[in-house]
């Protein structure tokens, strides 16, 4: 269905570039094709890996670009990490979270870390594409969620505010590994740094949270939505 017209008008360069990042390759690819069917939007690439997504954005070399980020990304470089990363590297770009009936708390957190809105993959294609366009204008966009979950989205948005921004990117990484139960030595191995560096990060995290040990730090992180709630002590 994504028959590319040889000379679309307005010209490809004038259209708003869109990058799609989703852990599920077929979704990233299908959404990129869908985007390209819209006369004002242009497929600027897609990726199913967060680092690859950042590279695709850099390669696009556009001043006006919207990146769609799937909330399904997990691990230390999860969807929230990617949203924050894109937001910091490209403050003028639009960033939208996408998902399949995502939890309101997850949507709220995505907004908090920098997304301009959320588009549900199950919504009508025209409404979805219109949402992409509106986000590029800097408008807050929610396509899919019904008004009765807005309250839960607001809750999710305000909870991480307590601690989230106090941590540096590296500290968040260390914390995510600590939450998986890795030892300082193991975390050091993953990050390619010395064990001593990891313990320094950990003690800074404790200081920022006002806690005395790793369990308390991870509990605090779970409570504030910094690491996935599946973690248990």
């Amino acid at each position: 269905m994504a028959q590319r017209k040889p000379n679309p008008t307005p010209s490809n360069r004038r259209r708003l570039g869109v990058v799609v990042a989703d852990p599920v390759e077929v979704i990233a690819s299908a959404l990129a094709q869908l985007v390209d069917t819209h006369p004002d939007l242009a497929d600027a690439g897609h990726a199913s890996d967060p680092h690859e997504a950042l590279a695709v954005i850099d390669r696009a070399r556009r001043s006006r670009l919207v990146t769609l980020i799937g909330l399904g990304f997990e691990g230390p470089q999860d969807a929230y990490w990617l949203i924050r990363e894109v937001r910091e590297r490209h403050p003028t770009h639009g960033v939208l979270a996408i998902g399949d009936r995502a939890e309101p708390a997850a949507i709220g957190r995505a907004l908090f870390v920098g997304a301009d809105g959320y588009l549900d993959e199950r919504s009508d294609a025209a409404a979805f594409l219109d949402g992409v366009k509106r986000a590029a204008e800097g408008e807050m966009v929610l396509v899919g969620p019904d008004i009765d979950v807005f309250g839960a989205i607001a809750d999710g948005m305000e909870q991480p505010a307590i601690v989230d921004e106090r941590l540096t990117e590296r500290e968040r990484e260390v914390l995510a590994f600590a939450a998986e139960g890795l030892t300082a030595r193991e975390i050091a191995g993953r990050l390619g740094v010395r064990e001593r560096t990891v313990t320094t990060h950990l003690s800074k995290i404790y200081g920022k949270f006002g806690v005395g040990n790793r369990v308390a730090a991870v509990r605090e992180a779970v409570r504030s939505g910094l690491v996935p709630a599946g973690w248990s002590e």
Partner: protein, 222 residues
């Protein structure tokens, strides 16, 4: 065997008497519905009572007591059934504050009263009843709040624990010397903390600092 026939109980926490009357009429137009007027003086739990209502209607513009607090009280009392909020206000703040109590409907009075019996029927059958215009104001308010939440996080991150402590004493109106005695530092050191605090908050006076901090949610000002 037919069970004893009992009309379904709708709990009405009304506001203006006229609006309450209209609401009562709209409810009793349904078959098998009876309306209980709630009396909040005995507490929300007593109003919910042993016979769980099939619907709770809260007029947010109550004269006695804060309607919003009452609305949230209904949820805190453990009631999980449908809730219909009513208000003459349709601004983002009011709407989103109500939405945080997981309501299933919001009627803007008095215009929305015309469709009230339909809304009540919708909620009784498990549906939702929100004025379509509320969507945009609620999204806009969400946008505003996310900016506040981000700002607050940014400033909270920038303030050291000592600066936050000093800030709370500043808001109580203590002098530099008094603060110094409380935290065991010289007033000169306190002055340095205050200077840094002002720079971080981008303000010049104590009043501005406290106002800015309250705005960002760093200080609770009652």
């Amino acid at each position: 065997m037919a069970a004893a026939h009992r009309a379904r109980r709708v709990l009405l926490l009304g506001g203006h008497p006229v609006i309450a009357s209209v609401t009562r009429l709209a409810c009793t137009a349904m078959p098998d519905v009876r309306v209980d007027d709630g009396d909040p003086s005995n507490g929300v739990e007593a109003m919910i009572g042993s016979e769980e209502p099939v619907l709770v209607i809260v007029d947010l513009d109550r004269r006695a007591g804060d309607g919003l607090t009452l609305l949230h009280g209904v949820r805190e009392a453990g009631y999980t059934g449908p809730v219909l909020a009513m208000s003459e206000r349709s601004d983002g703040k009011r709407v989103l504050d109500a939405l945080r109590a997981q309501i299933q409907g919001y009627v803007v009075t008095p215009a929305g009263l015309a469709g009230l019996s339909l809304d009540v029927a919708t909620l009784l059958s498990g549906g939702r009843a929100f004025d379509g215009l509320l969507d945009d104001v609620a999204v806009e308010e969400l946008g505003r709040r996310v900016r506040v939440a981000r700002d607050r996080a940014r400033f909270t991150g920038r303030l050291t624990p000592r600066e936050r402590e000093v800030l709370s004493y500043l808001s109580e109106g203590l002098t530099l010397r008094q603060i110094g005695r409380r935290v065991g530092l010289s007033h000169r050191t306190v002055e340095t903390h205050v200077g840094k605090l002002y720079r971080k908050l981008d303000v010049r006076t104590r009043v501005q600092a406290v106002a800015r901090a309250a705005n960002l949610g760093l200080l609770r000002v009652d």
